[in-house]
């Protein structure tokens, strides 16, 4: 049995905690979501309110849990959407080559040069700020990332002899992409997805902080930060807790991605 790398274990545990808490919020929170207790606002930690309450007297733990769920959902949808489109584009670029490949890669170069926030602000300016537009913006920046990873990995697989054997068998480019290329690039794509998940959580927080993401009354870590901003001196804990949550989630997914890369990269695996 090979020893698992430390980053994989630590990342896995952090991710499990964050995902577990998000999932738990679907069935149970200490208090009803958004239940206000105006008289009990800015309360300190107590048996009823474990981490205290915010400026509207809402339970902090409940809000953090609901936020975890929303952040996860946004990141998951955005990465799945952008990742799928990007991976398919990368596969197509690799399978067809020529001008199609050039087109996809130049598109990737251009969109790489475009800051996410700027793009999200543009979307918001045109279509109005909404959760949907935030997801689209995060998905959009993921497309070129996955297109590049998929194309680079796919180009390697296209030179394998079993792919030549499939061509000799009479299989077409798309069938080969489906049967041989996709299953064999799954590992690097999944690793990339984990890392991009961390980036997406951060992006969602940033967009929500700017008011371009999750809209009230739904909460998210970014929104909580944004609301706590004006109260920094009065109640710093309102900013610190969501901040810690973001750090934990980003660190967790980042480490998990690195760990997965370590164990799926054959060059590194052989040295172990």
């Amino acid at each position: 049995m090979r020893r698992l790398p430390a980053n994989l274990i630590i990342g896995g545990v952090l991710v499990a905690i964050v995902v577990g808490v998000a999932a738990l919020s679907l069935v149970w929170t200490p208090h009803p979501e958004n239940a206000m207790n105006i008289r009990g606002k800015f309360a300190g930690p107590s048996a009823t309110y474990w981490l205290g309450t915010d400026q509207l007297g809402r339970d902090l733990v409940t809000q953090l849990m609901a936020s975890a769920r929303n952040s996860m959902a946004v990141a998951l949808i955005a990465v799945l959407l952008g990742g799928s489109i990007g991976t398919v584009l990368g596969l197509l670029a690799s399978a067809i080559g020529g001008w199609v490949e050039d087109l996809v890669m130049r598109f990737a170069d251009i969109s790489f040069a475009f800051p996410t926030l700027l793009f999200a602000i543009m979307l918001a300016a045109v279509f109005g700020p909404s959760l949907q537009n935030a997801i689209l913006a995060i998905a959009f920046i993921n497309v070129p990332v996955f297109a590049r990873v998929a194309r680079a990995s796919a180009n390697q697989i296209w030179t394998r002899e079993y792919v030549f054997a499939a061509r000799a068998a009479g299989m077409g480019r798309f069938a080969i992409s489906r049967d041989h290329i996709l299953p064999n690039i799954a590992a690097p794509v999944i690793v990339q997805a984990t890392i991009e998940f961390a980036v997406a959580i951060l992006a969602e927080a940033a967009l929500s902080y700017l008011g371009l993401g999750v809209q009230p009354p739904e909460s998210s870590w970014g929104r909580m930060l944004s609301e706590a901003q004006t109260l920094m001196y009065l109640a710093p804990q309102l900013a610190i807790w969501p901040g810690l949550c973001i750090v934990t989630a980003v660190l967790g997914f980042g480490l998990l991605g690195d760990g997965l890369r370590d164990i799926t990269d054959p060059r590194l695996a052989r040295e172990r």
């Binding site: 002899e161 079993y162 054997a165 000799a168 068998a169 009479g170 299989m171 299953p183 064999n184």
Partner: protein, 258 residues
Amino acid sequence: MTLLSVENVTRRYRLPRKSLLQAGPMLTAVDNASFRLEAGKTLGIVGESGSGKSTLARMVMAFERPDAGRILLDGKDLNALAPADLRALRPRFQIVFQDPYGSLDPRRTAGWSIAEPLRATGDTARAEARVAEALEQVGLRPADAAKYPHEFSGGQRQRIAIARAIVTRPALIVADEAVSALDVSVQAQILNLLMDLQDDLGLALLFISHDLSVVSAICDDVLVLEHGKTVEQGAADQVMAAPRHPYTKSLLTAAGLT
């Protein structure tokens, strides 16, 4: 009857440029090669690395187009065929590669890989039975169809690759260094298997190798390539016994055959 006819085939590659302003120089990988292969016969293409023998194999398999010349299978010019017609012709010619570890998709079972040529042409009637038959023909058991490549030894994997190549009952198999990566005792088993299959199925074999001793054991005719140029061509027995070109002689000496 001529099965495969290669007529004055030339293939050039552009090498990477050395300076910004000049295009890279051209390398002629295969220079005006011509040969014919009769049904059921074996032709050896011999050469060292850079001789162009693998380029020739890729052109015969229509993975690449020649810059000049024609390649005819069953009298049809491979590079003049419409893609659909070429695909329909694919079951007639198959390939076996050198690396028994790289020629099978690690994520697919042996049976899946062997059935691939059948699926590719939609010829899937009795696919399972035909895979089982192919496995038995190469000396494996039908139950091996459910196993993954890593569960087999190198020689067994090469047998699977051969099973995949014969499952469509082709007329021609291109063996690109198909026994070069194998140990001597395994190599003998695979060479015998190829000869048995040829006799049973009437296969023609285009046998590409750097190893003259192997070529001499299986081929009717040989063609010796040096830097893309054909330096000697003839009946294997004659070339081995009385090589005319100094390059052929040096290969014979190096292989310990003189």
